[in-house]
Symmetry: C3
């Protein structure tokens, strides 16, 4: 196990020193802090100059969503189209040849034949890396398996930088399903590229962060602590990164009902926190955040969603090797 | 009930005096006759100059079809793309995060974050208005609930203007399901912005026009009469606006079979009418019109469908505040 | 039967002498050798100059996929978008008005109202011809029924021309389901426009080529032979065109299992063939080709898939009557 982790981190480190142009985007660990700063600078530009461009007009971008997604897909589509790219693709496995028994490898080869950049979403761990090994065109992981959703982490980190001016020196609380939620794991991995003051991992015992995630936190010397209740740490954190706890994760529905309340974010809870405390969420949310929070000063998640477009525009141009 | 109706009409009246640019399009009652004439003028232009434009090249248009649609969706897509807009969206609820339990409000907020104009189709009454209240971007109702489908009414009225030179002074027969069919209600509402000589509401007793629709006809002084058979009035009408009667509306299938025949439009029936009598239909049709009518001089519905593109192009540029 | 065949061939011959511009593309038999050479020349251009164009920027192309498809749909979409066309459409019958009982004729009329070129895929034989008779816009058959998939044949023939310099004078083996597979029939029809040295039709007795296909081979004087095993002819052929044999074609699953092995293409088998022997396949494939073939010199099918884009770009500009 340990061996496998280190190999993965090692591979990510190697990828992290490649030039941006033409690079595959598999894990947020593939990037250095400098990479992300380069990215954020372009995102700032596109946030300020929201209009259409012809930068990618000779590019075909394939959106290969083997698993449904709304936000990630629509923001990638918006980003690619605003850059002038031609966008093709599919939004679920149904109706594509996978249904006829075609191998994933063959489907990827087809996309590679038509597209210059492939954006892939897949429920299986490692699908994006597998695609990248087959395709000549760069592959962007739009979420696969339980750990990696690198472009989500990019926009999460970008949001914090916009809100606080810096990602360093803050206290973070990451709440919810840290075991199966790929957004949470990716966000934690992303934090390890910076210098957070402390990271609280807040989850029910059943949904604790994966050993490989803890391993990376340790290796990179990030102060962290696992706790089981939000209200233990709400006064200390600057950022609460909340994720959904799915009922289906619990063998016993009663156990889920019992646990749910402790992870619900309410106005009352947030009022006990710091003045500048803000809540992030990769969305969609169901009832893990009280609706009253939506219209309060605490809610940063709608702004966060909005940043999906400039951040993904920035990523696409860097991979294409063009500048606005 | 009465109160609610008047409030709705009142709100629509207020919206009707807003400038076109940036306006939400919820009900055809939101518009004045002058608004529609402004719209028809632009539609004339696009009908005559069918080509692509860059007028909306910096615009992202979201087509949010929570309920399936072919004609409305494809003609909006054609219109937006011919204007140079970037189009994103979805064509059914499946596969979007609504399926994961996301609230409609959150889905709208997401679309608002990515798009500059939101086109929404939803089975629930009031969904478009709800969306408009949440979104900063203008919202266009592409059909919701049982009453409102304003862009359909726009192209219906435009078709009549092209066929007869004027919408005023004609005798109209509106046939079919006037209770649950949103196209029929919207068309009747649309007529109240003009001066029809008379409007016949032709339907089985079970599917009579809704009280709120009759209320608006009365308030605006439009002469109308409810009848149950097309052949009672076929000699008098200038325009027959036909809609589908769905079997499912009848508790007893036998009742449906018995009723169906009286609402079927045949060549024989039409020959009894005026020389210039024309049949409109929002489409799709099933068997409520005899196939022989399709290729006769009476059929105006294919032309009507064709006008969906220039009328929707006109609406989009007026909302964006640009001119060809 | 004979009569019907001749009428079809006759109609195709007539279509084959029409100018390219505005032409319907129903069967590969609609084309002359000269037509295809004209097409291949443009495909060469687009293969060499892969970039976006504005040639079709005033065109709306409808992709009407009543039956799912991945490769054909995505390569048409890529081709149309790289030419600057606006692309609209649907990817299955679900969710379009066909589901509400609309006739195919009405659906085609709608597409005709919005689009300048209609690309249609349908499971029923003759659907594309039917559409062409109704629509004013040119119709391209993207596969219908069991015999016709003309654009697949175009790219197949183009691939052979690129591999061997010429389509004439070679020995072909067409393997698999020659009865129900439209790609196989279209490929054989396509070969009859050239001068193959010999065509082997290799299939289980149950899945032999259709009488109408054999009729065309005879009429056009193409030397051919029906055989039941690949290894009988592997040493003689220059090109193996392999297609999938679907389990569902066999009334008895045991019969399928027994037959399957004889049609599986392995490296061992191919090594017995000529030095320059190459394998084509319309894809998707399941297990009819041993995976080791994929990365061998024998595999031409991924290149073949790649050629779908330039060949379809060439076809679209010839139909639109524009030149790069």
């Amino acid at each position: 196990m340990e061996q496998r982790i280190n190999t993965e981190v090692w591979k990510a480190l190697i990828r992290a020193f490649l030039p941006f142009k033409g690079r595959d985007v598999i894990s947020i660990l593939d990037f250095t802090r400098e990479d992300l700063e380069e990215l954020f600078e372009r995102a700032d530009y596109f946030l300020e100059h929201r209009r259409s461009y012809r930068l990618l007009e000779d590019y075909v971008v394939a959106l290969a969503f083997f698993e449904p997604s709304t936000r990630t897909r629509l923001s990638f589509e918006t980003a690619a189209k605003l850059l002038g790219a031609k966008v093709i693709g599919f939004t679920s496995e149904e109706g594509i040849s996978i249904a006829k028994g075609e191998s994933l490898a063959d489907t990827i080869r087809m996309l590679d034949a038509y597209a210059d950049i492939i954006v892939i979403r897949h429920r299986y761990e490692g699908a994006a890396l597998f695609a990248a090994e087959i395709a000549e065109s760069p592959v962007i992981n739009a979420g696969d398996g339980k750990q990696h959703h690198p472009t989500q982490a990019m926009l999460d980190l970008y949001t914090i930088r916009k809100l606080y001016g810096s990602i360093d020196g803050l206290v973070y609380g990451v709440v919810g399903d840290l075991r199966y939620g790929r957004a949470a794991s990716s966000f934690i991995y992303g934090l390890t590229l910076f210098k957070p003051k402390k990271v609280y991992l807040i989850s029910p015992p059943l949904l604790r962060a994966r050993p490989e995630v803890l391993e990376v936190l340790k290796e990179r010397g990030i102060p962290f602590e696992e706790v089981t209740k939000v209200d233990e740490v709400v006064e200390e954190v600057d950022v609460l990164y909340v994720t959904r706890i799915q009922k289906e994760r619990f063998p016993d529905p009663l156990e889920y009902e019992r646990v749910k309340g402790s992870y619900r974010i309410t106005i009352e809870l947030l009022k006990r926190g710091k003045e500048h405390l803000r809540v992030l969420h990769p969305l969609p949310k169901v009832d893990e955040i009280e609706p009253a929070v939506d219209t309060s000063k605490y809610a940063a998640y709608f702004t966060q969603a909005r940043f999906g477009v400039p951040v993904r525009m920035a990523l696409l141009i860097l991979i294409a090797g063009v500048e606005p």
